[in-house]
């Protein structure tokens, strides 16, 4: 009996395993990184707060028409600030950019990842990355002097399709027509050109996301599909695209977020008119919220600047939603990023 008593007496007290940092240096280490990370939370909150505090007056006086209306007047006593055409213009340009950019980006990613010989693929990757880092004002300069004449010419070719009647061939394509039916003197300044600029800006983003997804795909999956007798095209349509679709969608949404917020590049190639242009993509009038801010800010009246803050807030909320969605989709498609 007494032996057992002795043994239990010698069992040391149960040691506590601590997962929380306890030394001062560790606590400092975690504390500093944690407070630095909370910057991100503070930043988003502060942006919302300050823009809201500045734009509150505008929302109060303009009401819901701020988003839907289409007038802009800064004369004292007659102040009307409405961004309907600009908001729709941003969306229209982004849609055009996506339509033009997505096939280009997916083709480029497929070319780099599956078709090109190694050295060419490497050079192409560097080029695409470099273009992704190209400042938008440089793209704007290039777009104004180099791209605009070319795309305006394409626009004039497309305008020929707005009403075709050659013998048995009779059709109208209303989106290529002008809203007032007039014959345009110029094809510059249209949403069509701005859409091309946006496409140039978002192609590198979508390409790099898509390429990353492609490169992380299971090669055995592709090889086994080929071994079962699949051809390149059937493997692409039935194996690669379905597997990568989530990531590609996320990449496209990332591009959409960038397109919606694009400022300087569009500012130079688009004719900003505060009159809604629904689908007449070749007409020399369009809108863009971000470019509106740049255009009106310089000599804005105090109330006008508050209205611009409100426009910025709307833009921010819009891009925040799009980017958040993109982040969720990309993260779901790239589970290896989560540890």
């Amino acid at each position: 009996m007494s032996d057992i008593q002795d043994v239990t007496a010698e069992v040391p007290a149960r040691r506590q395993l601590r997962t929380k940092p306890f030394s001062l240096a560790d606590r400092l280490f975690y504390g500093i990184t944690k407070s630095a990370s909370s910057i991100s939370v503070i930043l988003v909150a502060a942006i919302l707060l300050f823009l809201l505090s500045q734009s509150f007056a505008t929302f109060q006086t303009q009401g819901f028409d701020f988003i839907t209306g289409s007038q802009w007047n800064n004369a004292k006593g007659h102040e009307v600030f409405q961004i309907g055409p600009m908001l729709w213009g941003s969306v229209l340009i982004s849609i055009l950019g996506i339509i033009g950019g997505v096939p280009m980006a997916i083709a480029a990613a497929y070319f780099i990842e599956f078709m090109a010989p190694k050295p060419i693929a490497k050079v192409a990757t560097v080029l695409v990355d470099l273009l992704a880092a190209m400042p938008s004002i440089v793209i704007g300069l290039w777009g104004l002097y180099v791209l605009t004449p070319v795309v305006a010419h394409w626009g004039s070719l497309l305008y020929g399709l707005h009403h075709v009647s050659m013998g048995p061939v009779n059709f109208d394509i209303p989106i290529f027509a002008m809203s007032d039916g007039s014959v345009p003197s110029t094809f510059s300044g249209s949403p069509f050109i701005a859409g091309w600029i946006v496409a140039v800006m978002i192609v590198p983003i979508i390409t790099s996301v898509t390429r990353e997804i492609f490169s992380q795909m299971d090669r055995d999956l592709i090889n086994s599909a080929l071994a079962l007798g699949g051809s390149r095209s059937s493997v692409f349509m039935r194996v690669i695209l379905p597997t990568a679709s989530g990531g590609v969608t996320g990449g496209v949404l990332l591009g959409l977020g960038r397109a919606l917020g694009e400022t300087v590049a569009i500012f130079y190639v688009l004719n900003l008119v505060s009159d809604i242009n629904w689908f007449n993509i070749l007409q020399s009038k369009g809108g863009s919220v971000a470019s509106l801010v740049l255009q009106k800010f310089g000599e804005g009246t105090p109330n006008e600047i508050k209205a611009l803050m409100a426009a910025g807030l709307v833009l921010f909320v819009l891009t925040l939603l799009v980017n958040w969605l993109a982040a969720v989709i990309v993260n779901r498609a790239q589970p290896w990023r989560k540890i």
Partner: protein
């Protein structure tokens, strides 16, 4: 009976699937070259537009010819492949043409404005018609270096700390922080400028606002744009450090702080430098925030805390749609300077970043 010849056959130099029939190579090449030749001939003869010739003559003919060749060589399978290859190559070429066009036009037009004084002089005595022998972007380069340098000073430590929080700790806020950082990376640059304007310049707190437009306000306006880039790339760099290294340090009894400081940080050093360089490259050409928060200047200003200050993007912005040819030349010149800066930062990042990260590249 003759002796059986036992000398070995030469070993094939290529794997079976690498052997190409030269006839097929000629056919595939011909399916593209002949339509191209036809398109060129038709363009020259009928004088139609080059775009139309490409879209209406070259592309359909190339498509039909390639489908035919694919059918001939591979049977039914070849048709789909021909379509896939033609479209991929067409769109990839379009991307390549656009990319090369941007760089080519900036370099060619920018070189016309290049001269030693373009780098060294400021804009003090320059009107829109002054010839290119006088004046330059010297003041704008200095302003950009000051403003971007100031941003770098506080953004890089913060960005790297966020990356450390995301990879080295088990904090509960990590998913939130990661999502928010990704969300901020999509922040429109003009909104960043508006935010800092509302925060510091507009009369939010007092009747006159906290400050006037100045270089340091621009630095802060660049912060939200640079932070997510640095944080994301630094996170990738820290994640490339094998977990075994950290575990080894912990097993030897190192506290988390020391394990990070003496093991993880040295291992990830090159990646973190890359993060810093690419972060700088991200903001060096940002225009919209600087237009809203700094006042442009024609003179050299070495104090980013007081007064007007010029930067390369705002300089370019001021000259971009002027009518005079010399002004447009100055714009192209400034664009080339920005491009050179981005290119140098990129090359540095690649050279410094490729030193360590190559071996840990493909991870699942």
């Amino acid at each position: 009976m003759s002796q059986l010849d036992l000398t070995a056959l030469p070993r094939p130099t290529k794997q079976p699937w690498q052997v190409r029939n030269p006839r097929n190579t000629w056919l595939v090449a011909g399916a593209s070259v002949v339509p191209m030749f036809l398109a060129v001939v038709i363009t020259l003869l009928t004088n139609i537009d080059a775009t139309l010739a490409t879209l209406l003559v070259f592309l359909p003919l190339q498509l039909i010819a390639s489908i035919g060749v694919g059918q001939f060589i591979f049977g039914k399978k070849g048709r789909g492949d021909a379509i896939l290859v033609i479209f991929t190559v067409f769109f990839s070429t379009l991307v390549g043409v656009l990319l090369v066009s941007v760089m080519f036009s900036v370099v060619v037009d920018g070189l016309k404005a290049m001269s030693p004084q373009f780098f060294g002089q400021n804009n003090h005595y320059i009107s829109s018609t002054t010839s290119l022998e006088y004046g330059g972007v010297g003041h704008a380069i200095l302003g950009t270096v000051l403003i971007v340098g100031l941003t770098t000073l506080f953004t890089i430590p913060l960005g790297i700390l966020i990356a450390i929080y995301l990879t080295e700790t088990r904090g509960r806020m990590r998913p939130t922080v990661r999502t928010l950082v990704q969300a901020i990376s999509g922040l429109p640059s003009v909104v960043s400028g508006l935010f800092i304007y509302a925060f510091l310049i507009a009369p939010s707190f007092s009747a006159h606002g906290l400050t006037q437009q100045a270089g340091w306000v621009g630095s802060i306006a660049l912060f939200p744009l640079m932070l997510p880039t640095v944080a994301r790339i630094a996170e990738e760099a820290l994640r490339l450090v094998p977990q075994e290294l950290r575990n080894g340090a912990y097993a030897l009894g190192a506290p988390a702080f020391k394990a990070f400081w003496q093991v993880t940080l040295p291992a990830a050093k090159s990646g973190l430098i890359t993060a810093a360089l690419l972060g700088v490259a991200r903001i060096i050409g940002e225009t919209a925030p600087l237009i809203l928060t700094t006042a442009p200047s024609n003179d050299t200003n070495l104090n980013p805390f007081v007064g007007q200050i010029a930067t390369l993007p705002t300089y370019l912005y001021g000259y971009i749609n002027q009518v005079q040819a010399t002004s447009q030349q100055r714009a192209w010149g400034a664009a080339l300077v920005i491009l050179i800066l981005v290119f140098v930062l990129f090359t540095l990042a690649r050279v410094l970043g490729s030193a360590k990260s190559t071996k840990a590249k493909k991870r699942k």
